[in-house]
Structure formats: C-alpha cells, structure tokens
Symmetry: C2
Subunit: 142 residues, 2 copies
DNA sequence: TTGTCCAGTTGTTTTTTGCAACCAGTCAAA
DNA sequence: TTTGACTGGTTGCAAAAAACAACTGGACAA
C-alpha cells in the first residue's frame, strides 16, 4: 500500500534520485553523451556494475529512461532519456550551478557550467530538442 | 587526501545532499519554518532521531546551516540556513516543480509549488531576504 | 517536586552498498 | 574456425548505513 514516506514534492523526487548514483547516471546521458553500460561504468566516479544495473533498471521502471537494442551490435543496449528524464535538465543545471559557486569543482567543470548558464534558455532548448529527436528515433526503431 | 569520488559539479553536490534525508531537512527549514530538532523529528516522513542528529551535524560542517542556542529556552537549539543553504532555493524549487509534473504529489503540494512558480523571481527574492534577515539576527545574538 | 519536554545517545537488527570474481553471448581478426 | 577481447550483466561476501526502540540527563512550568 504505502511504499513511500510522503507525497511531498521534494520527497517524491528523492524516492527517484535520492541516492549517491542516480543523478550521475542521468548526467552521463544528458551532458556527456553516454549511451552504453560500459561507458557509464567507466565514468570518473567508478560505479560498481551491480549498482549500475540496479539503477538503470529502476530509472527504466520510473519512466525516466528507456532501454533499446543497438541496431549494429546485438548485445549492446542503448539507454535514452524519456521526456520525464529530459525535464530534469533545469534541476541538473541548478545543482551544477550551486556547486560551481559553493563547492570544490574543477576549472573545467566551472567553465562547463558557466557555458550552460550563459547560453540561457536558447541553449537549453537546443539541447532538449536534440535529446527529444534522439528519443523519437529509438522509439521508432523498436 | 581523496575523500570524494570526483570534482564534477553534480557529484560535488551529491556529496552534500545525495541521500534520502538531507533535502527534507533543508525543506523543513526553508519552506516550512521549522527551526527546532523536535519540529523536524515530527515531519511527515518520520526521520529517526539518530539520523537527524547526524544530518544536522553534517550540514553544519558543510556550512549549509548554523546551530545557535535559543535565547528563551537554554536547551533548545535553533537551526538556521546560511547563505550557502539559502542559495539552494532554486534547486529545491526546480525539484519540486519537476515532481509536481511527473510524480504522485498531493493537491496541496501542487498548489504550493504553483504559487512559488507563479510568484516568480520577486517571491523568491522576498523569501531569500527573509531568510537572510533571520541569519543576520542569529549571527548577531551569538 | 513531579511530570513533561528537550536534544540527543546507545545498542541491535535490517537494508543497502562496495568490491571482486565470474559468466555466456557477440564480434572482429587471423 | 579458433582466439581473444568486449558486451551487459550476475553472484557471493564484507562493510557501511539506516531503521527501530529504548534510554539519558538537563531544563522548564506548575
């Protein structure tokens, strides 16, 4: 019956990404162009393969990403963001921006954040559209 | 030496609030006017007292909130957001807004989010100022 | 001085995470 | 057609974190 602590907006979000790994996976797909299991496994933070499997499955269940077979390599899965996932972009950018000001972040990281902030709504819209195009493609090819 | 997984902006934020409880505590202070241990202990999500103690200490170490003695009740501690904490407001609002659209949230929650969104920058600035005034007061009275 | 409220602490159980080794299917080259 | 590297995982075990309940000593109000 009750599998969640409350129906508060903040808590409802935390039930999805209130852990140390989920947002890093979303980052990999949203900003770093990663689409395959091995690519995410090799990110800087060195996630364990069982945790990655678990989180990808949960994100799929939550409808935040979708898993499809790669057209050229039968064994590879392609992980793409759904609209629900793409809509997390403002959340991600605000988090990154806060970190750039208040936390210990690489120069490269700060520059990347600054570019997104300076790019404003237009850049964000452009990125959203690109991700949505990609989604349309994988949905068609299923 | 290396007590963090990486210096990526997203990860640096997650080292602070990448868990199931921290953002709920910040919510309690930022939006629900809670300032005392017992008030937070009695929130809907029913956090355990040892976890609450731990997270309040960590948030203080991170410089996101400050603990001061209540002037009228020697035993009570007052927890207030610092500027670093107040700066999380856009993050919180974007998370809440995403949840209002994509997750199972109470009508009350949705209305609350809508008010903040509709209020725009002016409302946010007003809330920021109120929190900063409060911070000034507790800093003076130490 | 008695009962209630205060911010925690302590000890135990349960759940989650981290780590390393392992696996079968796929693919490209020899 | 065999070999060897790569694919997305799985399994078993140890360590860490969280959940739960019971408890503590100081403070306050009646």
């Amino acid at each position: 019956m009750k599998n969640c602590k409350s129906y508060c907006p903040i808590n409802q979000a935390l039930e999805v990404f209130g852990d140390k790994w989920t947002l890093l996976i979303i980052r990999d797909i949203m900003f770093d162009g990663k689409r395959y299991f091995r690519e995410m496994l090799n990110s800087d933070e060195k996630i364990a393969s069982n945790i990655l499997t678990d989180r990808l499955n949960k994100l799929e269940q939550f409808g935040i990403l979708i898993k499809t077979k790669d057209a050229h390599h039968k064994q590879k899965n392609v992980y793409s963001l759904t609209e629900k996932g793409i809509d997390l972009m403002p959340v991600m950018l605000n988090i990154a921006n806060w970190s750039a000001h208040h936390r210990d972040v690489t120069e490269e990281g700060k520059i990347k954040v600054k570019n997104y902030v300076d790019g404003g709504k237009e850049l964000q819209d452009k990125m959203r559209k690109a991700l949505k195009e990609e989604l349309k493609l994988v949905l068609k090819d299923r």
